[in-house]
Each structure stands twice: as C-alpha cells, then as structure tokens.
Assembly symmetry: C2
Homo-oligomer: 300 residues x 2
C-alpha cells in the first residue's frame, strides 16, 4: 500500500436518521471515523463499528482531515461551527469542512469565508433521497464550493451517494436544494388541487392520475405521491415539519435575493396550519389531505 | 366489402388550428366528411381533400352518423349545440355527438342530457398534445360518456390520437382535462420560482435543472419548459391566453364543486396580468419570465 492509498480520517458530526447510515457507509468503506453527537447514546452504534467518539465538535476537528456535519437545522449548524466548542475554533489549514445538512445558503457562505480565512476549504453538500438513500448510499448530493475541494471530497461522496453534482461556488449546493424543495412542495399542491377537484366532481382520481402520467402533466410527484394519495398512505416518507423547515429556508433566501415566490409562500403557510393541527410528523403528501379537508372531502 | 366495413359519415364542426388537421386525418383514413366552419374560407382545404361543406351546424347533423365539434371556448360550443341553427334542433336517435373542445364539464353534462332525451349519445373528449399532436394523429384523448358510445367512437379516436382513455361518465373527460391544465400551470410556476431564485442567487439555472431532473422534483415541465426558459424561447407552443381560458374553466369547476384551489387561482391571476401586458400570444412558459421580471431580472 502506498501513502496515496491511506484513507483520510473523517470527522462526522450529527448521527441522526440521515447521519448515522451515512457514517456507517464511510466506516464500511474503510475510512477511520471520529464522531460527535449531542445525544451521546446515538454514537454507540457507530462506535461498535469502529468509530472513535468525542465530547465536542472542536475535538472532532482536531483529529480529522475532513469534517462532515449532518444536522437538523441552521441554528444547529451555527452552534457546531461557531459555538464555544465549535469547529471554527480549531480548523487548520488544509482541512475540508463539508456541511451536508439542509440549511440556508447564507450560512454556507459564512462557513466558506471563515474556513478560507484560516487556510481551510469548505463545501456545502446537501442531499436528497431520504433515509433510504442514506442507507443504500444512493443519495443525490448537490455541491457548492471550489472544484479543488470537490475533487478531494469526491471519493467520500461516492460512498454516500450516486447522483453527485458540483453546481458552483459556496452556497450553490444549498440554493439547489432549496430549489428542489420549492418544486417538490408546489408540485404536491398542484396534484392535490387536481385530484381533489376530480374526486369531488365524481371522477375517479386513479384514472385521472393515469391519464395525466401519459402527457405533459407527468412528474415523479404525480407518480409516487399521486399513488400515496390514492392509497391514503401518509406515514413518512419525508416529514411535513422538515419540509416546512426547508420552505422557511427558501423564503429566507427569496427575501435575501428579493424574489417574489407567491406559491412557495402559500404552501409554507398551509404547512403552518398543518403543524398547528399536529400533522407535522406525517408525510408531506398529507398536504393533499388538507386540500381535501378544505373541500369537505374525507381523505384519512 | 361487407356492410360492417362501410365507414360512418362524420360531421366535423370547427376547422381551426386543431380541428383542421384532425379532420384531414379522418378523410385520409377513408371517412366521408361533412364540415362546417364559421369562417367559410377555412373549409376550402378539407373540401379539396373530399369533404362536403355546409352552411350551418344543423345541416352537418342531418347528413352524418357521428358529429365531432372542435371549438375554441364554452360559448362557441353552446352556440353550435343550442343556438338557432344548432345541432340539438336536428339530432336523431342513434347519433353520437362528440365534443373534443376544451370546455366546462357543466356544458358536457348539459349536452349529454339533451342528447339522451332525444335518443342520441354524446361524449366529451378533450385532447392534449397541441397542433403537432393533431397533425401527427398522436393526441391524448380523455373521454367521458357511456362505454357503449366510447366503443362506437373508438375507431375515430384511433385515427386522431394515441393515448385514448375512457375516464367515466359524461363530463369526466372535461374534468380530467381541467386537472391536466391545473397541474401544468402550477408546475410551470413551480419551476419558475425555483429557477429565478437560482439565477438571482448567482447559481447556474441549467445546473439546477439538471440536478433536479435526477430526483424527486423531476417532471416533463422541468425537462421541456425548463429548457425553453434557459433558451428564452417563448414563441408558442401553447398560448398563454388559451391556458388562461382553461384555468378559467378550472376555477368555474372548482366553484361548482366548492373546492378551494388557491394555487390555481394565483396562477390564473398572474396570467390576467400577462394578458394585460400583451403577452397572451406567447407560450405559457412565459409565466417564468414574469416571475423573473418581478424579481427585476431580465429574461427576454
């Protein structure tokens, strides 16, 4: 074995429903792993597979060549990077910091600036594909940052994902993810208005779905969530409260960029109402059940 | 040739951009055709191919076994069926009346009731696929009415279309078409909000489109109209003013059925503004240019 083949040590912070299977895939691929998780018990499973646990993010940073973070929301990322025991206290020249959380493009750019000031590099690399994609190592990964950093991180991305695209400079990965979440949310609402109108008109929504799939109205959402709606299967999948969080990022970004996004705002607003009704843990396709409910049509 | 193989005489009313190529395909397939068009000059081309012209819709009805109408809007259909020289004055037992226009489900049901009262049958059979689909005989045809009438009309549909679906009772074809137009309009707006947000964020919208096509946000609209938007190609295609007409039908239907369709209403409203700006003859994907304009981003 030559020195070139020695795998870099990877620090991994955030072992939730997404992070844990991603970390496990890296261990299985032979990467030495150093992990941190706010709830320490969640480190046990990966420690059993050979990972080394730590007490705070800065410690992860000390002992690794590449640091990956996979956290629930923007404040968590802010804390882990910029908090008291945060990564930014210890980042060294030559390190790569990869944030794979779905957060605002703004914080991705902030991390990039700080990292650069310390001679390190960063990538924003949010994913789509859910916990199944994380387990199977088939996530789509949308990457922002320098080509140089992207190329260094590419072998790790290949362990975790399949459709890996370098989009542009820092923040571009998060912008792409936010675009994805906008399109998915609005398309769910689109098929909802259509299928509820069909059903209330006494027309079989299954036949409408089939007919529309043959033409210009066709989409993955109509295919997958259309079928979910017909079957009334609203267990997640992708939770409503997480999609609401992502639309909040979209609206923040739209505000920063001064873009009017009325349909995104409207779907976000509808999700607020669904969370108030205790539906946040259901699949985001439950939006369609809400449209049905507003039309006095039962869909549960 | 046995009697069973004698083709029925087809009356065809409405020889516009869609109707004329549909009528021509029927002539080429060997159907005797009797035609009427409000602007008589538009009958000349099909008369040269062997069609017989008439002076009013009732005359078409007198001499044909099956009557097809392909007209711009609900008032035109109302006039042709229920006006002074309208079809309903002469319809006979055993005839089939097929309205292939895109109009309200309400008028489809009204035609069905009147036809039934006179011992005739009717089908609502709106299409999608545009003038190219009409020329090539590859239209999608969404059919409402009895199975018996559908089976009788099926050989004619096969001449004009490819994806031919019997959806349900009278009106079901129009309901399906309106669902199609809802989904298409809202999906255009969805990709518009996303691609404009990307571009204003300094992220290449072509790369965002590619990344999104690989995942859950994928749709025919993102594929086809996404590319149109990147190329700034807004010649029709499907004209904005016709799509606005179709969303008007959708909103009327939503009112009849008491379904809240906020996104449909919002896109229809945006189309009103675009028609006021003289953009009605452009492709419906020009909606995206309007979103860009509202974000002070040039897209022409």
């Amino acid at each position: 074995m030559t020195v070139d083949n020695v795998k870099p040590t990877v620090g991994f912070i955030g072992l939730g429903i997404m992070g844990r299977p991603m970390a496990e895939n890296l261990i299985r691929a032979g990467y030495p792993l150093i992990v941190y998780n706010r709830t320490p018990q969640k480190m046990e499973a990966v420690v059993k597979l050979g990972a080394k646990s730590t007490n705070h993010p800065a410690q992860v940073c000390d002992d690794s060549d590449i640091v990956i973070t996979m956290l629930p929301d923007t404040p968590d990322v802010d804390q882990v990077y910029f908090g008291d025991h945060g990564i930014m206290n210890r980042v060294r020249a030559g390190q790569i910091l990869i944030d794979m959380s779905t957060v605002s493009p703004r914080i991705a750019r902030k991390i990039a600036e700080e990292a650069q000031a310390k001679g390190a590099e960063s990538l924003d690399a949010p994913v789509s594909g859910g916990d199944i994609g994380a387990k199977e190592g088939t996530l789509s990964i949308m990457v922002g940052g320098s080509v140089h950093a992207f190329e260094r991180a590419y072998p790790l991305f290949q362990v975790m994902g399949k459709n890996i695209v370098h989009i542009g400079p820092s923040g571009a990965g998060q912008v792409t993810k936010t675009c994805n979440q906008i399109v998915v949310a609005i398309t769910i609402e689109a098929i909802g208005e259509a299928l509820v109108l069909a059903e209330k008109s006494g027309v079989d929504p299954a036949k409408v779905r089939s007919a529309l799939l043959g033409g210009f109205a066709s989409s993955r959402i109509l295919e997958i969530h259309g079928q979910r709606v017909l079957d009334r299967r609203f267990e997640p999948g992708f939770k409503m409260r997480l999609h609401r969080k992502d639309l909040n990022i979209a609206l923040d970004t739209a505000q920063d960029m001064e873009v009017s996004t009325p349909l995104t705002a409207l779907v976000h607003d509808m999700m607020n109402s669904l969370l108030a009704q205790g539906k946040g843990e259901l699949d985001h396709s439950y939006l369609v059940a809400e449209i049905a409910k507003r039309a006095n049509l039962a869909m549960e």
